[in-house]
């Protein structure tokens, strides 16, 4: 297996190997200097990359320079089972049946004991999580609960223009996942009947912020009625489900099969927005048993 004579291609490979290994050495030094001088992202990273690529390219070039034979032939070994091998294994099976297999009681008991072991370990697995007790159906919203922003401030009904958006929570439970609500204010004359029936107040309407498709936060609200083509959509950024904010959040497109549950709201004596009731149905993604 002597290398072939130094042809023109070989010479090039030899030179490439020299350059590569030399670059690798420099790259390593640069990386060390980069770490020492706190230039970790640039000099350390690039230096390491140069060192690694240099070693790799050098090795390949070296192999190409050696120009070892690529056309060595080797026979394949037989993989299929021979009849003799089959017979040999069959003997073991027969022997097993004759010895172990005859003790049926023992075999049965052993299988049973293994099964009981499995059953015994199901219990501890159950400790991984509590049994569902209908928590999914309950949110923090009760009749009279104030709507508050992420800062905990209540929302005054008479403040601000139309086309508003805010993320609100039940008072005292800011950040509670299942109770997040997207609060909008649009021109009241736009609301459809069922939206009004769902509980709106002075243009304010509140929907669960959890998408009925896969549970992401429905945070995109595009609204523009100043233009000839009126745009009015509540969109989930995860899978692009769109809901109609003035028509009880009915799905307009995308994969969500159901509207966002509407939180009935009213204005309390102090002029702040409150829930007039809890959600009419479950919030969040649809589950198997409608709860």
């Amino acid at each position: 297996m002597t290398p072939r004579g130094p042809g023109p291609g070989n010479e090039r490979a030899y030179r490439a190997a020299i350059v590569s290994f030399a670059a690798a050495v420099l790259g390593g030094v640069a990386a060390a200097y980069g770490y020492w001088s706190d230039r970790t992202e640039s000099l350390l990273g690039i230096g390491l990359a140069v060192a690694l690529v240099g070693i790799g390219a050098g090795l390949v070039s070296w192999a190409k320079f050696l120009d070892l034979d690529e056309h060595v032939e080797q026979p394949r070994e037989r993989l299929r089972t021979t009849e003799a091998e089959r017979d040999g294994f069959h003997e073991v099976v027969v022997e097993t049946e004759e010895t172990l297999g005859r003790r049926r009681v023992l075999t049965l008991l052993l299988s049973g004991s293994f099964a009981s072991l499995v059953v015994g370990f199901v219990g501890p697995l159950g400790s991984l999580g509590p049994k569902p007790r209908g928590e999914l159906a309950r949110t923090g919203w009760r009749p009279g609960t104030r709507l508050v922003t992420s800062d905990g401030l209540p929302v005054a009904a008479d403040v601000g223009s139309f086309d508003q958006l805010a993320t609100v929570f039940p008072e005292g439970q800011v950040g509670r996942d299942d109770s997040q609500v997207v609060l909008l204010r649009v021109r009241p004359e736009l609301f459809t009947e069922r939206t009004v029936a769902g509980g709106v107040a002075d243009g304010w309407v509140a929907y669960s912020k959890i998408c009925t498709h896969a549970g992401c936060s429905v945070g995109l609200f595009g609204i523009d009625d100043r233009l000839p083509e009126v745009v009015r959509e509540l969109v989930c950024p995860c899978h692009q489900s769109a809901f109609d904010p003035v028509d009880a959040a009915q799905p307009l497109g995308g994969p969500a099969p159901r509207p966002l549950p509407q939180l009935p709201i009213e204005i309390d004596a102090d002029g702040f927005l409150v829930a007039s009731d809890g959600f009419p149905g479950p919030v969040g993604p649809i589950t198997w048993s409608e709860r």
Binding site: S150, S161, Q240
Partner: protein, 273 residues
């Protein structure tokens, strides 16, 4: 007026023309090109409006159906925003206004803003001061309220119905504040934001811009989809090329060898002496 719900000071503001006039005075004083008092500025703005804006918004700013909306309740903030970001004038009414080169001089903008502010009741230009802002809190507010449309990096994204939220990184703190109180285009109004909230969010967006979060190093800040494409184009394609180099069949590179074999005969069994 669209104003924060929690702050009582802001709740009395809409009915307080004195304070509004003061705020306006601050704005005009800050503008370098104007030394005039309020009324002549409004008059200049009215004349400018008649030539520049009236073809779509009508001479009195009440709007023309099918061409341009009414500006009666747009206020100074909205006008300042669309003029200083080059969104107006716009070529056609049914396209989304986008950031572009500013078309008016400082003086013209001040006049137009003053005029539109004088014809109706709309939000004033918010005074945004990022100096003492809490950037961390601004980040939390940003992710809760803004990132859904404008992306965590500020790069902007589509928002359905063919509209998209623009890249925020070119916006000034004042423009950010204006957008929050005005809700330009398809953007909703964030009236629940207090003055402090606006300062904090603006300072966070400025920090994003400083860090160039939508630059070439992170593929425009578009997240995992762009990163996946980069992994294929910038890493896997070069690696495939490298395997091509490593596994290049030699019999194509090197013709016949020493033993006088024909070049096409690639297979040789090797026998050592």
């Amino acid at each position: 007026m669209n104003l924060p719900s929690g702050s009582t000071i802001w709740r009395v503001l809409p009915g307080a023309p004195v304070i509004a006039a003061l705020a306006f005075g601050v704005v005009t004083l800050l503008s370098p090109s104007t030394g005039e008092s309020a009324a002549p500025v409004i008059e200049t703005g009215r004349q400018l409006f008649a030539t520049q804006c009236a073809s779509c918004h009508a001479t009195g700013g009440e709007g023309i159906a099918g061409r341009g909306p009414s500006l009666l309740d747009e206020g100074e903030a909205a006008t300042d925003f669309v003029l200083r970001t080059g969104r107006m004038p716009i070529a056609a009414p049914d396209i989304q206004a986008v950031r572009g080169p500013v078309r008016y001089t400082e003086g013209e903008i001040v006049s137009l803003v003053a005029y539109v502010g004088s014809i109706g009741d709309g939000p004033d230009i918010p005074v945004v001061d990022t100096g003492a802002a809490d950037t961390t809190r601004g980040g939390a507010l940003y992710r809760l309220n803004c990132a859904a449309c404008h992306v965590a990096s500020g790069a902007g994204a589509p928002i359905g119905a063919g509209r998209y939220a623009p890249n925020l990184l070119a916006a000034t703190p004042t423009q950010i504040g204006e957008a929050i109180v005005v809700g330009p285009g398809s953007m909703p109004v964030f009236a629940s934001f207090t003055e402090g909230d606006i300062d904090d969010v603006a300072s966070y967006i400025v920090a994003l811009a400083d860090a160039d979060t939508a630059g070439a190093r992170n593929f425009g800040g578009t997240g995992p989809a762009a990163e996946g494409l980069a992994a294929w184009l910038l890493a896997l394609v070069p690696l495939i090329a490298l395997t091509r180099w490593i596994g290049a069949p030699k019999d194509r590179v090197r013709p016949a060898t020493d033993a006088g074999e024909p070049a096409h005969d690639a297979s040789r069994s090797e026998v050592d002496p």
